[in-house]
């Protein structure tokens, strides 16, 4: 079961790589021209094209590129002339820091509040939380970001920096305060969905026959929730968490732009502006891989949490 799922993931990634390659190929513009600028002589352009293998048929170029992906060589950036790896390494780590902080805070908060809300269904606290999360879920991330900036770093309280200061050679986490606003924005965007979905799932589970049975068996309420109810919610909730994390990977583009955070989102915007094909390809593949991996993990968790699916793998 898990192996089959893994095979599907690999296939999806290959399909995505082909799509990404074909679409970037169709983009107008000539990478050699982009690197050398408008004043380049035809001879130099031809030489560079030869060097970049631009004259080879597309499938050879695809295979070379794919081979590069597997060996960790993402190609050469047209804008800087340097390797894409070096260009993205620092941005990737900066974005990962943001992602990990957001996920580490958002997942437990979302699940706990969702479960709590489900257990207090219909009471005032549940209704307040549900209403509040609906409002937050309805707001786009840039609105949340702007509101937070206004509240915490400008007129109301002047506590946090509103933009990221990243001098060359300096890493974002050298100055941790500047991570708070972007992470908080991301957290506030994903947590409401997690609360709402966890609540719905838990309500279904709490209404089930086996939870009623557990209560009629005289088990302590703690045990009813943690041993009988929660395991059944894990699978569906893992899917929601995965969707939200995958969203984070894309949503980070807007948030990073807003806070001028030097991460992958910034790199993406720059690369598109500069027609830096190799970087766009690499970034697309990175984000696609993140989606696939996160969903794969959610599926595996779902399989492991469900004995019915789990035991199927054995027989």
């Amino acid at each position: 079961m898990i192996l089959k799922r893994l095979g599907v993931s690999v296939f999806v990634l290959l399909a995505v790589s082909l799509l990404v390659f074909v679409f970037t190929l169709m983009l107008p513009g000539d990478p050699a021209q982009a690197i050398l600028g408008q004043q380049a002589t035809p001879e130099r352009l031809a030489a560079l094209r030869e060097q970049l293998h631009l004259n080879d048929p597309w499938y050879t170029r695809y295979l070379t590129w794919l081979g590069g992906l597997f060996t960790g060589n993402l190609g050469t950036s047209a804008a800087t002339g340097g390797s894409v790896n070096a260009l993205l390494a620092s941005k990737l780590s900066a974005s990962m820091v943001l992602l990990v902080i957001s996920a580490v805070v958002a997942i437990p908060v979302g699940l706990l509040l969702g479960t709590w809300s489900a257990m207090r269904r219909g009471r005032a606290s549940d209704q307040t939380l549900t209403g509040f999360s609906l409002v937050l879920a309805a707001l786009p991330e840039f609105v949340i970001g702007v509101v937070l900036t206004t509240l915490l770093s400008t007129t109301v309280f002047k506590l946090l920096p509103s933009v990221t200061m990243a001098a060359p050679g300096m890493r974002v986490w050298d100055y941790p305060l500047q991570l708070i606003l972007p992470s908080l924005t991301l957290i506030l965007v994903v947590v409401p969905y997690m609360i709402r979905m966890t609540r719905t799932t838990m309500i279904d589970v709490l209404d089930s026959g086996y939870v009623e049975m557990a209560r009629l068996k005289g088990l302590p309420e703690r045990q009813v929730i943690f041993k009988h109810a929660l395991p059944h919610a894990i699978g569906p909730v893992a899917q929601v968490v995965a969707m939200q994390l995958a969203w984070l990977a894309g949503g980070i583009v807007v948030v990073e732009f807003l806070f001028r955070y030097p991460g992958l989102g910034q790199a993406m915007v720059d690369a598109v502006n500069n027609r830096d094909v190799q970087v766009v390809q690499a970034l697309s593949m990175l984000i696609a891989a993140f989606y696939v991996v996160v969903n794969l993990i959610a599926d595996v968790i779902g399989i492991l949490a469900n004995p019915k699916l789990r035991t199927e793998t054995r027989s």
């Binding site: 086996y210 068996k217 005289g218 004995p307 019915k308």
Partner: protein, 619 residues
Amino acid sequence: MRRSEQKARDRVRGTAVPRATVDTAITASHLSLGVTGGDLILDDVSFRLRPGRILALVGESGSGKTTAALACMNHLRAGLELRGGTVELQEGASRFHRDAVDLLTLPEAKMRRLRGGTIAYVPQDPALSLNGSLRVGEQIAEVLRAHEFGRNAHERDDRVAEVLSEVGLPSDREYQRRFPHQLSGGQQQRIGIAMAFACRPAVIILDEPTTGLDVATQDLVLKTIYQLTTKHDVAGLYITHDLAVVARVANDVAVMLHGRIVEDGPAERLLRRPEHPYTRALLDAVPDMQGARDMGGGPAVSPVAAVRAPWDRGRAAPGQMAASASGTPAGTADDAAATTGTGHPENGAAVRERGAGGVVGTGRQDAPVVRLRDLRMAYGSAVILDGINLDLEAGQTTMLLGESGSGKTTLSRSVAGLNDGYTGDVLLDGEVLAPSTRRRSNEQRRRIQYVFQSPFSSLNPRRSIGDSLQVPLQMSGDLSREQRRAAVADALDAVRLGRSYIDRRPGELSGGERQRAAVARALVNAPSVLVCDEITSALDVSVQASVIELLRELQHERGLAMLFVTHNIALARHISHRLAVLERGTLVDYGPTDSVLRNPRHEYTRSLLRHVPTLEEAG
């Protein structure tokens, strides 16, 4: 009568350790419960549970049986509130409470200690109530731990193994490590029973624990329950709508109607000399194997709808209107029910004769309408049907009997053309039919109609009954709108619903009414063959009887050939002329119903017949 006295004496002498020193475990008095701010569900309900005896709480769905039972555990489902009454746990009944106590006023923490330990519950559907993500051994062990049974983990492990063997399951480690989905339905239900008996409770509440099990498994489960309650002197409360099951396990019976207990008493007395007309109607609705009681008395009435009339104040039953519309005074049916209910032997004989006469009268002796020739079907290596030959004749019913998975439904769907994967031939009037309905002609489709198992899912909830019913007419006929509506109204009259139902939606109808509407849909374009796929299994016992009665009359009037798929032998016996027994895709017994039931040739048929619970066991 003598046999049951013997039984009672055995029970007293029994091998059990005399544990309970009290003669009552739980007394529920004047229990009233309602929907929060709304209608009453239980109205002044009182009963007493005594050690070593089982009280059966009998009634139809919605009569408040489960609510009453759960109130004994002080467990109210969401949206219900207590209006009054007490549930008293008697002194000495529990090791946690030496003193008598009213469970309904007990604080939650103390109540929790009693649930599962002193008062245990066996749920209706183990598939929903066992936790799919926990191993079955652990699900039993955790009850023991929660109630601190035994001195240490070792003793508790021993108890798990012991209780598993008490319910007739393997007790080894490997079995305990299985998950619920790795067990059959019957095994799951016995795990549920083991869970309940694990702590040696004083009271056990069984909520229709055999619904959904086939007869052989039901038999085994009932035996287990009976043995365990008597052996360990447990007070039992058994909820059911099936009086045949009551006859098998219960010592006392309380009959519930609309949240009130209308009659109670010792099982023997109540089953033999019922006093309340509703009890009589329920008893009358229980089919019996001997065919000694004709169901519902005379022709042309829907018996239960009519009989219910005198006391059914709770609901303005639409069925009642239909019954009076069909022109039979309610009193006649009531009388008929009263006389047949007591089941005098000479009366039974007369009825049997009448039934036999009917067979000869309606059976037309021409060629079969439908013939099945060497029908085969397999999914990969799994053989579903293995060379079936079967004839359906006009005016005759063939009962197709078999346990779940025997291929009954596949066979009936093949006849109707809903399953085109078979090989072999289905012939209609000598003409070979295409396997799929799509390739059959309009006329062929019209002549074979199908009634589905569940009336709750076979009618589109968004369409009115009239709209649903005229679909077959639109497909095959070129009738005008008015003609179609008239035909639908006639069909509704024919199934004794009445034409006033034409603009209602399925949601407004009860289960029995919906099934009637579904039958009307099958009849609306005058078919010659009716395939009924377990059409009574989703219905209450008394409603089942009325639907069967209806089919019998319709067959009589129209000379329909019917294929009646069921696993309820006792019920279908009343309308079937021929009986076909299917075991794993093969017809193992086939012939006139009476002769097959009297002299079953195949061991499988004999075992099916042995396990059918009947009222006769009360004596």
